[in-house]
């Protein structure tokens, strides 16, 4: 069963969060992955090799141990990227490593991270995953979660939504994207060879990326300043 780690949302319809106070947001992601270790494993077991929960838990736990309270949001993202890329490997090392590295790279010089900044970061991070992994929307992968998530976020801003609303719409789109993988035939990764046999179940990476975005967005929403 999927587990949601609680966070305390503040009702602040404001438009930035302080980079230097953002380590807690990344910790929330770590806890989410840890809490969903078995669930992710069982989703991966359906049409993959069953290790997605173990892999993710190992990487994020290692990152969690290296996180310091003094880290900025950007630095915390970099810690995650390094743990995944240098110590975990697998598919998730390069994929989520690139994701968090891009979040770091596109925020490291910012003191405050605005909704517009975050929109750019999320797009860059998604594109980094596509660049290294080569997956497109519809391939049944984490891309099916990430692409709608960043697009929904940017549309929301274009519709003059505030940061909180945009995060909510992005999370909802991520969830819909995740759910969309159920109907898809895998075209990438380990399950790509299953053809029709891969239809009917969720993609493990689509699930984990939804959980990450949910925690990330919840954490940001709780940190918004005015």
């Amino acid at each position: 069963m999927q587990t949601t780690v609680a966070y305390t949302p503040k009702h602040n319809p404001v438009n930035y969060f302080k980079n230097k106070e953002g380590a807690a947001i990344v910790r929330c992601i770590v806890r989410t992955i840890q809490a969903n270790k078995d669930y992710l494993g069982s989703v991966d077991g359906e049409i993959g090799d069953g290790d997605h929960g173990v892999n993710m838990n190992k990487g994020f736990t290692m990152a969690g141990e290296r996180l310091e309270d003094g880290h900025t949001f950007s630095e915390a993202c970099r810690v995650v990227a390094q743990a995944l890329m240098e110590d975990i490997g697998g598919s998730m090392g390069p994929l989520y490593g690139s994701f968090f590295k891009a979040l770091w790279r596109h925020s490291k010089s910012l003191e405050n991270i605005s909704a517009e900044n975050y929109g750019t970061m999320l797009q860059a991070a998604t594109e980094a995953v596509m660049e290294i992994g080569g997956a497109k929307v519809g391939d049944k992968s984490l891309i099916d979660t990430l692409v709608p998530a960043y697009q929904a976020f940017q549309c929301a801003l274009a519709d003059k939504a505030d940061f909180t609303q945009a995060l909510q719409r992005s999370t909802a789109a991520a969830e819909a994207g995740k759910e969309s993988t159920r109907a898809l035939v895998a075209k990438i990764g380990r399950s790509a060879r299953l053809g029709e046999r891969s239809r009917g179940v969720l993609d493990a990476g689509a699930v984990s990326s939804f959980l990450i975005l949910q925690a990330l967005h919840g954490g940001i929403a709780a940190s918004l300043q005015d």
Binding site: G90, G93, L95, G189
Partner: protein, 333 residues
């Protein structure tokens, strides 16, 4: 889970400790990365380096093919999970004598990505790196989509041939060309009779019903082409050859090398029973067997099952296959 382990998260590290201690005559660790092992004499001066890497749980692959005239270094991942880009980079560095390094690995998305990243890093360090991606598993994708096929036990032939070419003084391009030719001439198929369990997961992620078998199963238990009733050894051998022979194709009059590997929990005598029929069928089709390897060469944790691999030989491949080697899991005088 009836296993001989301690903390499941420590299996890979403890296995490497035991392996390095057992084979200290052939294998050495590298500084600052406990997930890379190298041939004790590597980098061999003047020789192109040959490395691979992949997830653990396939022992004796990949580390067992480290040694004289085979692999110079191996990047080691978690169970069924690609090594890090950093480990691939460190393996490349451990193997490079200045003439460049050939990375001969299997077609899995994690390995593809990590090798890609490692190549960029090695490039930054001025090491010439080229790679060959093994895709010998015939049933993992149609013949028209070879880039989607998995690499399986045929990788051993690729390492043997690439390693031999390097040992003979081949340039990086020559090593790559020979290794590519080896894998292009190689086809494999797997049959699973039981599931396997990743120790840290603690339970199998799929189940093969007694009385059935999974034809075309992958090296990590990836579902195969079909679930059928359990066949006899002879029927399994025919079925495997029915998929392998037309794919290359292997025509009457050609010469082949054969590798039959158990998947981890397969009694060795049954591998020979299976091989017997393979040889009989090939003989009947006038396909000549030059050399055969039967044993636990490339496994999948505790899976019961068998893989069959054929490499079509020409003069070059035959010469390179026959060259002496001294690796942990493959010794030829």
């Amino acid at each position: 889970m009836q296993r001989i382990i301690n903390n499941p998260d420590d299996v890979v590290n403890e296995m490497l400790d035991g392996f390095a201690a057992t084979h200290a005559d052939l294998v050495a660790r590298v500084p600052n990365n406990h997930r890379v092992l190298k041939y004790k004499q590597s980098p061999v001066p003047g020789k192109v380096g040959v490395i691979t890497g992949g997830g653990s749980g396939h022992e004796p692959a990949f580390i067992g093919y480290i040694g004289e005239n085979m692999l110079d270094a191996v990047a080691v991942g978690e169970i069924f999970s690609s090594p890090t880009a950093k480990s691939f980079t460190d393996a490349i560095k451990a193997a490079d004598s200045g003439r460049g390094v050939a990375v001969l690995y299997g077609n899995y998305s994690g390995d593809n990505m990590n090798v890609k990243m490692a190549k960029i890093d090695a490039d930054d360090d001025g090491i010439a790196v080229k790679s060959v991606v093994a895709n010998d598993d015939v049933v993992s994708a149609p013949k028209s989509e070879p880039h989607k096929r998995r690499g399986v036990a045929g990788e051993i032939f690729m390492w043997k041939i690439g390693g031999a070419r390097a040992a003979l003084g081949g340039s990086l391009d020559e090593v790559i060309a020979s290794a590519q030719k080896a894998i292009d001439h190689t086809r494999s198929v797997g049959i699973g009779l039981s599931s396997c369990t990743i120790p840290a997961v603690g339970k199998p992620n799929f189940f093969i019903k007694p009385g059935t078998m999974e034809f075309g199963i992958g090296h990590h238990g990836e579902p195969g082409l079909a679930i059928t009733e359990l066949k006899t050894a002879d029927e399994m051998a025919s079925l495997a050859l029915e998929h392998i022979l037309p794919d290359l194709p292997f025509a009457p009059g050609c010469e082949v090398a054969i590798l039959v590997s158990g998947l981890g929990a397969t009694p060795v005598n049954e591998l020979y029973v299976f091989f017997r029929k393979v040889a009989e069928i090939l003989q009947s089709q006038n396909i000549n067997i030059h050399k055969s390897y039967v044993g636990n060469y490339f496994s999948s944790l505790d899976m019961m099952g068998v893989t069959l691999t054929l490499m079509k030989l020409d003069d070059e491949l035959k010469q390179l296959l026959d060259i002496k080697c001294n690796a942990v899991a493959l010794k030829q005088f």
